[in-house]
């Protein structure tokens, strides 16, 4: 009997939770705010679903109820992607080491 592809996705999911667990514990507490803003940005990879949804209309009529929701989701996810990565970049640029004294 063949294995349902869902099982493979579930395996990826469970293993990723463990990867996430160990990776996040190793994040230094002083970078917890950038961690939150960068997780915000990467969870907006949901934009791939939004793009499929936006392009679900037929070539004659780009806009139908379903694709309009897709386009709105694209805009929301794009705000997050650009906003999230750029604000993380801005924050990380501020973390500096002590200048060598004496």
């Amino acid at each position: 009997m063949e294995i349902d592809p869902l099982i493979f996705r579930l395996s990826i999911f469970i293993l990723s939770i463990f990867v996430g667990y160990y990776v996040v514990w190793s994040v230094t507490p002083s970078l917890h705010t950038p961690l939150m803003s960068v997780t915000n940005a990467i969870s907006s990879v949901i934009i791939v679903g939004a793009i499929i949804a936006g392009l679900s209309g037929d070539p004659q009529s780009v806009f139908n109820t379903s694709s309009i929701f897709g386009f709105l989701a694209i805009a929301l996810a794009a705000i997050n992607i650009f906003g999230g990565f750029l604000v993380t970049q801005r924050m990380l640029a501020m973390y500096k080491k002590k200048k060598k004294e004496k």
């Binding site: 869902l6 996705r9 990826i12 999911f13 469970i14 990723s16 939770i17 990867v19 996430g20 990776v23 514990w25 190793s26 994040v27 230094t28 507490p29 002083s30 970078l31 705010t33 950038p34 961690l35 939150m36 960068v38 997780t39 915000n40 990467i42 969870s43 990879v45 949901i46 934009i47 791939v48 679903g49 939004a50 793009i51 499929i52 949804a53 936006g54 392009l55 780009v62 109820t65 379903s66 709105l72 989701a73 694209i74 805009a75 929301l76 996810a77 794009a78 705000i79 997050n80 992607i81 650009f82 906003g83 604000v87 801005r90 924050m91 990380l92 501020m94 973390y95 500096k96 080491k97």
Partner: protein, 465 residues
């Protein structure tokens, strides 16, 4: 047009890049590179999606337009936002992830053919379950984050809103969500889908209103986690590895942060979720309202104490963010350092309104990160330090947490500020902190209260040094 197998491999690559993005945050040196990995992963994911759809119809122009519009708004916000407003920004961003998940789920429900999930009214059972879970969690994330945003922004009062029968009501709604998902899957009725969304929005709202302002670090982390689970739910629906991996990463990241924040307050997760903490001051604080003597001083006294110290530890808190005093503080420290005084910063895990809030503010004020220490790293040093300078923090320094089992904050890890030879406490008044309890530190022999705005006081001290 690229094959489904090839695009699946690229999605996997982008998932791995996201893992590396988080890995980079283990130290400030590698963090910037990590962020670049994240950006690269996102570019790969979006490009592959374009290529896998293949036919470049007129719809693509609109996709690009919406990306450009959203992207410019996001970029504009990212450059303009002051660092003190990071908690609001992150809460706002969470709400967008949640809403985007809801929109994608709606779109997939209305037009399952485009997503290869069956036909309207006859969606594959597995996909429908995943979709409705993703939509429900997304909706909860959205409305919950909106409330968190309003509370942080001060548009809505930060004090907990509680009413009779709140918990039973929430429990009923949560159970009804599960029943709705079950009914939706057996009937495929679109009406049930809309009801499910409505009820999920409602519960997100109800879950966050009883939680008070100082519990926001937990709330933000928790919503961060939810946004990840919502993304993962949609990832299962779309059979997209990048989304599944990312959802799992973000979900566990938020969960860990919530755990760290709860531990920092010595409270259980459920205790925070059930809310109402610090709503009204209970009898214990009223009975102890007798006047106790307090020593108060001015900037001159503070400057004198610090000038004669050889080591100073600074304890910043949310009040510093409110007063925007971080730059003035750095200037004061620069002057101290010129006088060969050793200065370090002590950060409590729940100082501020989100995890790591104080660290970002200090970094913004050009404080080198290797002068900033976490509670466990520095707590033993208070005994050897001459002066502790508490600016905008309160409950996290309260010795009562160690001495009085009756106190609501008993058992919470606190900074051992009272062990310093002298304590300078900048505060506007003697009013109790968020937990609604008196801080014993105010009345200690070696404490000097500096009643003023944090920024103004810091500037005055610098002048007197």
């Amino acid at each position: 047009m690229i094959s489904a197998n090839l695009s699946a491999i690229f999605y996997l690559v982008s998932g791995v890049l996201f893992i590396l993005a988080l890995r980079g945050l283990s130290s400030p040196e590698t963090s910037r590179q990590g962020n670049l990995f994240g950006i690269l992963g996102m570019i790969i994911a979006v490009t592959v999606t374009f290529l896998s759809i293949g036919t470049f119809s007129s719809g693509f122009i609109f996709v690009i337009i919406f990306i450009v519009v959203g992207g410019s708004i996001g970029a504009f916000i990212a450059y303009r936002i002051p660092m003190t407003a990071m908690p609001e920004l992150v809460a706002g961003f969470h709400s967008l992830v949640g809403l985007a998940a809801v929109f994608v789920a709606i779109s997939a429900f209305l037009n399952p053919v485009a997503f290869n999930l069956g036909s309207p009214g006859n969606i594959k059972l597995g996909s429908l379950i995943e979709m409705s879970i993703g939509a429900a969690v997304g909706a909860i994330t959205f409305s919950g984050s909106v409330i968190a945003f309003l509370k942080l922004q001060g548009i809505m009062s930060g004090s907990p809103i509680t009413f009779k029968g709140q918990h039973p009501l929430n429990a009923i709604i949560l159970i009804s969500i599960i029943i709705l998902i079950y009914l939706l899957c057996s009937t495929q009725s679109s009406n049930l889908f809309w009801i499910l969304l409505f009820v999920s929005f409602l519960i997100g709202f109800l879950l966050i209103i009883p939680i008070g302002g100082a519990d926001m670090p937990v709330v933000i982390s928790m919503l961060n986690s939810y946004s990840g689970w919502a993304a993962a739910g949609i990832g299962f629906t779309l059979e997209n590895t990048a989304l599944i991996i990312t959802g799992a990463l973000v979900g566990s990241s938020g969960a860990i942060l919530s755990y760290i924040m709860c531990k920092g307050m010595n409270r259980s997760f459920f205790n925070v979720i059930l809310g109402g903490f610090g709503a009204t001051d209970d009898t214990s604080s009223k009975s102890s309202k007798e006047q106790r003597p307090v020593k108060s001083g001015n900037a001159d006294d503070a400057a004198f104490l610090m000038k004669n110290a050889s080591s100073v530890i600074i304890v910043p808190g949310y009040g510093m963010a409110v007063a925007q005093a971080q730059h003035a503080l750095r200037e004061m420290v620069d002057t101290l350092k010129k006088n060969d005084i050793k200065v370090s910063y002590a950060i409590h895990p729940v100082a501020g309104r989100m995890p790591g809030h104080m660290n970002v503010l200090l970094a913004e004020a050009n404080v080198p990160y290797d002068e900033v220490f976490e509670l466990e790293e520095i707590n033993n040093d208070f005994a050897n330090a001459d002066v502790a300078f508490v600016i905008g923090a309160n409950d996290v320094t309260n010795p009562v947490a160690k001495t009085d089992p009756q106190s609501p904050i008993y058992g919470m890890p606190v900074l051992d500020v009272e062990k310093c030879k002298s304590v300078l406490f900048v505060k506007r008044s003697l009013s109790p902190g968020y937990a609604g309890i008196d801080n014993d530190l105010f009345y200690k022999e070696n404490t000097l209260m500096l009643f003023a705005d944090a920024k103004k006081m810091t500037e005055d001290i610098t002048k007197n040094l």
